[in-house]
């Protein structure tokens, strides 16, 4: 099995707003191996984006990383100096975001923006950086890269902009690329292309990918392993096949059941199954399990105590009293 | 968990306003200043016209707490009385300007057509000029005096309010409830008064408050230049004008009215900022 390159241990990131504490990330642990794609699934507000930003230490006030470890090849990123962190961003770990249009600086040309990433971490001349930028554009499938490199972001379509972001993110051959909902803002056909591109490049470069999304369909397509997040905690972690075939946590099950299906035998006369209730207000989390108010499989203990993580079988973990007869 | 009383939109806003330190300070100052203006004759220790040539150009001390001017008149009393005119001119000119500006702006924005084009053209030309120049030009035409001063200052802001009212009217005009009102049978004028007017008032109130501050400054400037109210009636502006000659001998004649202007202007700016913060938090930094 490949080596672990990124490992999170009980990461905690809290937001301090108007005197109250919002535990956006509340004890998250997982690891990613070289070349692996980890899918992180959850609704808005589950803490997935904050987790990603915490890894790169890009969390802005009023947020603050308050505990845990982030180990990149064994080094705790949370203990690095600012300068060391700066060197790691973009070169060892990179990140792409949801809205490609807003993620590119409108004032600078494409080749300069990619070139900037290259120039920051590699000892090249400006000219070489530009040439490499054009090369990256070619790799991500942008037609006529030499001329398009001179364009400005607003002259490109959404799909192309996201390809540019990917080019930028992979330009220094990082160990991990974090993708925060990269295809959510794009239409479905483009989405398929981008996913395919990312998969291909992952294999070529050997980069691990941390793929954040709320779309289970996408997760099924790209990940080897999946972590399901709810209210700041990981409630289930499993290999992708195991997750879809034998979902353990009630939340995971509910998510899978709520995917609309059309069926040849039963052409969708069924009502959409929804998960009752709403995502909890992180300011007023219930005392026990956070999912308790919406859970269909409740026990008495669920209301009182938050469940601990349990390894159901090798590589599959769940945080639920159903599986913990302790 | 206790049940909380549903907060009204207005209640929330008033609470937010009261929480904001600057707006409270601003409001407080304005209340104090207004009281001083209203009760000026009772507060002032001396008659402002009382000359006492034996006690000319005194520095602050006893009994003249802020000194005397070159005619022996008590500086403090003059400053207190100056509050009246400065405040009155500032507020009245803005009220006139807002009222007329809103009317013209609403009509131009709502009905459109040639009138609108004309209005926009004139507003653009007028707004190319610095405000002071507009007031000065009007004073040139109308001659000196208190009422012309008010009109001159009102005139210099007038294009701005037209523009704001017109722009707001243009956007509100497209809202669905306007069409609803028309379907119910409201005539154009009814729509203007009952639907458009209340909805454009928000930004105008904010800007109006901030412009009172500017109006007071302009009044002081014009008086300083010699175009405002003339002595012996004290305004802060003309006090500075007379006081400048004696700058080296008794700077307090200039400093006192100047500080008075500053404090008043700051107060209105604070109040305006406070109102703006609660009505449109996006505008805040």
């Amino acid at each position: 099995m490949a080596a672990t390159i990124l490992q999170l241990n009980e990461l905690k990131t809290h937001f301090y707003i108007d005197g109250a504490v919002v535990p956006a990330v509340d004890g998250v642990s997982f690891s990613i191996r070289r070349g692996e794609t980890l899918g992180i699934v959850g609704e808005s507000g589950s803490g997935k984006s904050v987790t990603a930003l915490s890894i790169l230490r890009l969390v802005d006030a009023p947020g603050k990383i308050v505990g845990g470890k982030v180990l990149l090849e064994g080094t705790d990123l949370l203990k690095c100096s600012k300068q060391e962190m700066r060197k790691i961003r973009g070169s060892k770990i990179s990140m792409i975001f949801q809205e490609p249009m807003s993620s590119l600086n409108p004032l600078f040309r494409i080749r300069d923006q990619i070139g900037e990433a290259i120039g920051l971490h590699q000892a090249v001349t400006r000219r070489e950086a530009r040439e490499k930028a054009v090369e990256m554009l070619r790799l991500v499938g942008i037609p006529s890269p030499e001329s398009r490199a001179n364009n400005f972001p607003h002259q490109m379509s959404g799909g192309m902009q996201q390809r540019i972001m990917i080019a930028m993110a992979l330009s220094c051959r990082p160990l991990v690329m974090i993708a925060d909902e990269p295809t959510t803002a794009l239409d479905v056909t483009i989405q398929a292309q981008i996913l395919h591109l990312m998969d291909q490049l992952k294999n070529d470069f050997g980069t691990a990918i941390m793929y954040i999304t709320h779309d289970l369909g996408v997760v099924a397509k790209v990940s080897q392993n999946v972590a399901v997040m709810y209210a700041g905690k990981i409630v289930e972690y499993a290999g992708v096949y195991d997750l879809f075939d034998y979902p353990a946590h009630p939340y995971t099950r509910a998510l899978l059941e709520s995917i609309p299906r059309g069926n040849k035998t039963d052409p969708g006369n069924q009502r959409l199954k929804v998960i009752s209730g709403t995502v909890p207000n992180l300011l007023h989390l219930p005392a026990g399990c956070s999912f308790y108010p919406r859970c269909g499989d409740r026990f008495e203990i669920c209301a009182r105590e938050a469940p601990v993580e349990v390894e159901m079988k090798p590589g599959q973990y769940v945080r639920c009293w159903k599986y913990n007869h302790g | 968990m206790e049940m909380m009383e549903p907060e009204t939109e207005r209640g929330k806003k008033i609470r937010a306003f009261l929480r904001n330190k600057t707006s409270i300070v601003g409001l407080g100052l304005i209340v104090v200043i207004t009281l001083i203006a209203v009760f000026a004759s009772y507060i002032a220790p001396y008659d402002v016209r009382a000359q006492n040539l034996a006690e000319r150009l005194l520095k602050p001390g006893w009994p003249h707490l802020l000194g005397t001017d070159d005619f022996g008149r008590d500086n403090l009393s003059r400053a207190i009385l100056g509050t009246r005119i400065s405040l009155a001119v500032g507020v009245i000119s803005v009220l006139i300007s807002v009222f007329l500006g809103m009317m013209v702006g609403m009509i131009a924005g709502y009905f459109g057509g040639k009138f609108d084009v004309l209005v926009v053209g004139i507003v653009d030309i007028l707004m190319a000029f610095p405000t002071i120049l507009l007031s000065l030009t009007l004073l040139f035409i109308l001659g000196p005096g208190l009422s012309t001063l008010i009109i001159a200052i009102a005139f210099s802001f007038f294009p701005r309010f037209i523009r704001i009212a017109r722009a707001s009217t243009l956007s509100v005009k497209e809202e669905k409830y306007i069409e609803g009102a028309r379907l119910v049978g409201r005539g154009d004028w009814g729509i203007l008064i009952f639907h458009i007017l209340p909805n454009i008032s928000g930004p105008i109130i904010v800007i109006g408050t901030l412009w009172v501050a500017t109006a007071i400054r302009i009044e002081a400037s014009l008086s300083f230049l010699g175009f405002g109210v003339n002595p012996p009636t004290p305004t802060w502006g003309n006090m500075i004008r007379s006081g400048v000659t004696f700058l080296q001998i008794n700077p307090w004649l200039v400093v006192v009215p100047g500080l008075a202007i500053m404090v008043t202007v700051i107060a209105f700016n604070m109040l305006g900022d406070g109102i703006r913060d609660i009505s449109d938090p996006r505008l805040r930094g």
């Binding site: 600086n105 | 190319a128 040139f140 035409i141 400054r217 002081a220 500075i240």
Partner: protein, 313 residues
């Protein structure tokens, strides 16, 4: 794009004409007879008639307008009604004092305003920010002439570092500069207040944008993110607003030149109004307004060039 630029330049011409016409008419909307104003109420009828003739007041208004336009095109601004000195000459003498003042003030305001705006944006809601915003509030609130007087009090009267009044001798750099410092600082400080506010809010807006996060995620240095990525984006709206600040500045010259007794255009206007000399008034107003139209044109063009989103449409 070139088409737009050309169109904008051509548009400036009718605007200038409109402004000139406006000035012409507004200045003639006088109650009362200009001749009487100059010569006084007891002047003889012959003297009045002769003066009216000289001033061209007997022609119908539209003819006066045509004469006005013709003269303008020949750069003949007429003669001062009071002193009979050619207005063009008066303007030429006064112009450098005002130009110096305007440029120096603008420079000071930008040099103070933009860095202060950035600094307060970066230290948002900390002590420095409140302090900076307080200073900005003071700058907005203080009447320009009062600040000028305070500076005079401090630097000329008390400390005696700088000359008290006047414009100084234009031919000698030392004199020119020392007489410029206080007035320019006064106006500069006030406009700096506006610029600080504007810069602060624009920077905060820009720093919220996603591309700033991207820049950080790339591993870019903090300083570069602020000054290259953020500031350049923030400057675009700031440039567009500079035109308004110029208006404030020009209005300020009227007062500051009076306070410091600088023989510039501002002082000329005040004198013209006092003496009801409408020939001088109309000419100076025109210069001011043509200048403003011109500057706004430049700013508009600049803005179109600087923002690639517009440039490459």
């Amino acid at each position: 794009m070139k088409y737009h630029i050309l169109r904008r330049i051509l548009l400036a011409v009718p605007i200038a004409v409109a402004v000139m016409t406006f000035v012409f008419f507004i200045v003639r909307v006088l109650p009362g007879d200009p001749a009487v104003t100059i010569l006084g109420n007891d002047a003889s009828n012959e003297a009045l008639a002769e003066l009216r003739n000289q001033l061209g007041l007997n022609y119908p208004l539209w003819e006066q307008y045509l004469i006005f336009v013709r003269d303008i095109l020949r750069f003949d601004f007429g003669q001062s009604m009071i002193s009979r000195v050619p207005v063009a000459q008066m303007i030429k003498r006064a112009l450098p004092y005002t130009v110096d003042l305007v440029f120096a003030s603008m420079l000071i305001s930008v040099l103070i305003g933009i860095p202060l705006g950035i600094a307060t944006a970066m230290r948002r809601n900390q002590a420095f920010d409140y302090f900076g915003r307080l200073i900005a509030l003071l700058g907005l609130s203080i009447p320009d002439f009062f600040l000028g007087i305070l500076f005079m009090l401090l630097f000329s009267v008390t400390l005696q570092w700088l000359p008290l009044m006047g414009g100084g001798d234009l031919d000698y750099w030392g004199s020119r500069l020392t007489h410029l410092i206080l007035p320019a600082s006064t106006l500069g400080f006030m406009v700096a207040a506006f610029i600080t506010r504007m810069t602060r809010s624009t920077m905060l807006e820009v720093l919220r944008q996603q591309y700033i996060k991207t820049a950080h995620a790339k591993g870019q240095y903090e300083n570069v993110v602020i000054y290259k990525h953020a500031l350049r984006n923030a400057l675009i709206p700031i440039i567009t607003v500079v035109g308004i600040y110029l208006n404030v500045l020009l209005g300020g010259t009227v007062l500051i030149e009076t306070v410091f007794n600088r023989p510039g255009l501002g002082k000329l206007i005040v004198g013209a109004i006092m003496q009801r000399d409408y020939v001088v008034l109309q000419s100076v107003l025109m210069i001011f307004s043509i200048f403003i139209v011109f500057v706004n044109l430049i700013i508009d063009l600049l803005y179109r060039i600087v923002d690639p989103r517009i440039r490459t449409r």
